[in-house]
């Protein structure tokens, strides 16, 4: 069975689905790996490294798609890429089917068996394949670096001959995987960190990182299935907004990561709340891609309002391509090994992982 790794075509995507290291491992377990020329370059993985690991470097995407039984990608395939796919081949990438209906339809039409790792169940044995977690880790870390680089102040407290610099107060909204990593990173830099989330279980986790948890008494059940959050009732949401606005007043840096799977990101910071913040403050909205946690966020753009800088970065993991690719490659190869047996793809739809991730198969769209 041949595994193909094309060069990512999406703009600003610097990751690659397989690193030489992992390609080598797959090779050892009996799979042939084809890599498009220059696929890993943006992530600092040269073609020689792939060759040294036993992979074959293929000059062009078309040839690669033609030969591959399974294509490993990061971003959902473009129209062109779908067209290149061999009928009956398989493809693995990360996307929400609802946000990529065209691609899904095209894939089904082409009878490609497509998997989206974004749909992976959050169960213990799927942890090694959990790209959402691994990429969120990178995003949470990077968000803090962006904020620190953009802030007009230093994060740590410093007592110097030129006066004492107060530590930055960082507020993290939404303490899932990205939020927790953001907390850890901001604390490492010496900031005073507090965090808020609607799921009560998170309090202990936040405190386990040495940060302060801001507690809003919520009567309704905010935790849905699989450890994800649910949407809140309007009344609770209103209380939440007021609560956050209150805390924003003496915050220097805000990192927002709140998300609800398959839904628009919840609104946590209104334009009014931004108005209440001190000039020079920074908001990094990690939910920009799903609509933003801040009312003023513009995806991929820097917005300044009342002296407050609001960053809505797109695809942060891609900006740390080396490690993000390394983790992605591990995830995707774990998944690949999960769905192959003795070098061929074996689809067992009784298996939760296979069932949940398979978007199209045999011409059918399995996830709407």
């Amino acid at each position: 069975m041949k595994i193909g790794v094309p060069k990512e075509t999406a703009a600003d995507e610097r990751r690659v689905a397989l690193t030489p290291d992992v390609a080598g491992r797959l090779g050892k377990s009996g799979l042939a790996v084809l890599v498009e020329r220059g696929a890993g370059e943006a992530a600092s993985f040269g073609d020689e490294a792939y060759q040294a690991a036993g992979a074959t470097v293929v000059p062009a995407a078309a040839a690669l798609f033609r030969q591959s039984d399974v294509v490993l990608k990061v971003q959902p395939p473009s129209r062109g890429e779908v067209r290149l796919c061999r009928e009956g081949a398989a493809l693995v990438a990360v996307f929400q089917p609802s946000a990529a209906r065209d691609a899904v339809a095209a894939l089904a039409a082409r009878k490609v068996t497509a998997f989206s790792l974004a749909l992976l169940p959050r169960i213990t044995r799927a942890q090694a394949m959990d790209v959402l977690s691994s990429q969120a880790t990178v995003a949470g870390y990077k968000a803090v670096l962006l904020a620190a680089a953009a802030a007009g102040r230093l994060f740590p407290m410093l007592v110097t001959a030129a006066g004492t610099l107060a530590p930055a107060r960082v507020l993290v909204l939404g303490a899932g995987v990205a939020g927790l990593q953001a907390i850890a990173t901001a604390r490492r830099l010496g900031a005073v960190v507090s965090a808020f989330d609607v799921r009560p279980a998170v309090q202990e986790q936040v405190e386990s990182l040495g940060a302060k948890f801001l507690r809003l008494e919520i009567t309704e059940q905010a935790e849905g299935s699989g450890g994800y959050a649910k949407e809140l009732s309007e009344e609770t949401h209103r209380r939440e907004l007021a609560f956050i606005a209150q805390h924003l007043k003496d915050t220097d840096v805000v990192i927002t990561t709140a998300a609800i799977p398959g839904k628009r990101a919840p609104l946590l910071i209104t334009a009014g709340a931004v108005g209440g913040m001190k000039p020079g403050s920074v908001i990094v909205d990690l939910a920009a891609e799903t609509g933003g946690n801040c009312e003023l966020t513009k995806l991929g753009r820097d917005v300044v309002r009342n002296g407050v800088l609001i960053l809505g970065p797109a695809n942060l993991p891609s900006t740390v391509p080396y490690h993000a690719s390394q983790m992605y490659a591990r995830n995707v190869s774990s998944f690949l090994l999960h769905v192959t047996r003795d070098g061929t793809l074996v689809l067992d739809f009784d298996d939760e992982i296979t069932r949940d991730t398979c978007v199209t198969h045999a011409g059918e769209v399995r996830k709407p």
Partner: protein, 469 residues
Amino acid sequence: MTYAVAQVAAILATALFIFSLYWMNDPKTARHAVVAGVSGMLVAVLATWFQPEIVHHGWIVLAIVAGFIVGIPLSLVPLTAVPQRTALSHAFGGLAAGLVGTAEYFLGLTEHPAQLTAFRTSAIVAEVILGFLTFTGSLMAAGKLQEVKWIPQRPVTYPGQNVVNIGVLVIAVALGVVVVVHPTAAWSGQVFYAIVGLAVLFGVLLIIPIGGADMPTVISILNSYAGLSAVAMGFVLGNKLLVTAGALDGSSGLILSIIMCRAMNRSFTNVLFGAFGTVQKTVATGEQKAWKQETVEGAAQLLEQASLVVVIPGYGMAVAQAQHRVRELYDQLTKRGITVKFAIHPVAGRMPGHMNVLLAEANIPYSALVEMDEINPDMPQCDVALVIGANDVVNPAARYAKGSPIYGMPIIDADKAKTVLAIKRSKNPGFAGIDNELYVQDNTWMLFGDAKAVIGELVKQLAGGGGLH
């Protein structure tokens, strides 16, 4: 003059015995303890032997030689059989005391009736009852431990057991009172034999309802009884050395069994009184494994003796914010030349890299961190696996329990270490919500409590070197 020599010898021997026990507190001095004990015993034997009353030496030499001939092989039993050997030894000790008591009584009866004062006679009776019950009790215990086929290993209980047991003892004591009141009556000898018989019987009855798990404690109590019978012998013979040595022995046996009961979560009174009433329940559950608790002192000692300690941190370390305490522990252990590794499971904690964040904060060097795949082959060489608030990531069920939510997850093989010390607050499960058999494994000892507090105590132990309070 010989009297003075005997007294000085007695004082010297007493002091040596005390030092012997004292040095036993610490592995570093423990071997002096043996030297002191042997010297004390030598002093005692020689001083007694050279008393002018000792006129026949042949038998003494004979008996001593025989003692060596039997004793040396007995000391070479495999270490797994040490408990049996100790029990057997207690049996000998009890027998000796019982026999000497009997000899004293009949000596009094036949030769010096005046010597059978109420005090001496009481002492003789006490000596004989304690001696013979220790004799048969210890034999039974040894048999159970050795798994001799005609002694049932599991606790044997029957209705009315308490009444029967107590009855036998009461009758023996009552007969003893009779002998004390009429020490030289014509039938006193017979009564005395009856006492011996009842003591022998009681020893057997005492052990029957006790299960194997409690045997070490029972042996310790029997040790205490052996000591007390020596005290009684001392009263009979007017020998202070016997009294002190016996008292040392009696009290240490007592303390030891109390400590062991506590460590094993057993009621001391239950074990003391032959499990009258309740122990059956706990013990009779049979095969089901129990949680064993270790004291901080014991855990500190275990760590001190190790040469490779693998620390396995989990979410509990994070919750307790114990990372700085862990670093102190790391310092204490490495200072002693012990190799300490931190085995980091990929999903320990609640976010990727959770353990790294904390250990880096506490400045644990990266070189001390080892990944799961690297450490697992070394786990069988690990002397102590210290599990700090980790649960799912060390749950052996992940290897085989098909239905389990963690089935198939690779784990850190803490269970393969020689000893496991696990810190958690309760018997509650971890993230996955499933039980963890690691905790009830034979070589696992729990340290219940908040990780920060427990490790703080451990560090205190290691730094300050003990003390009870």
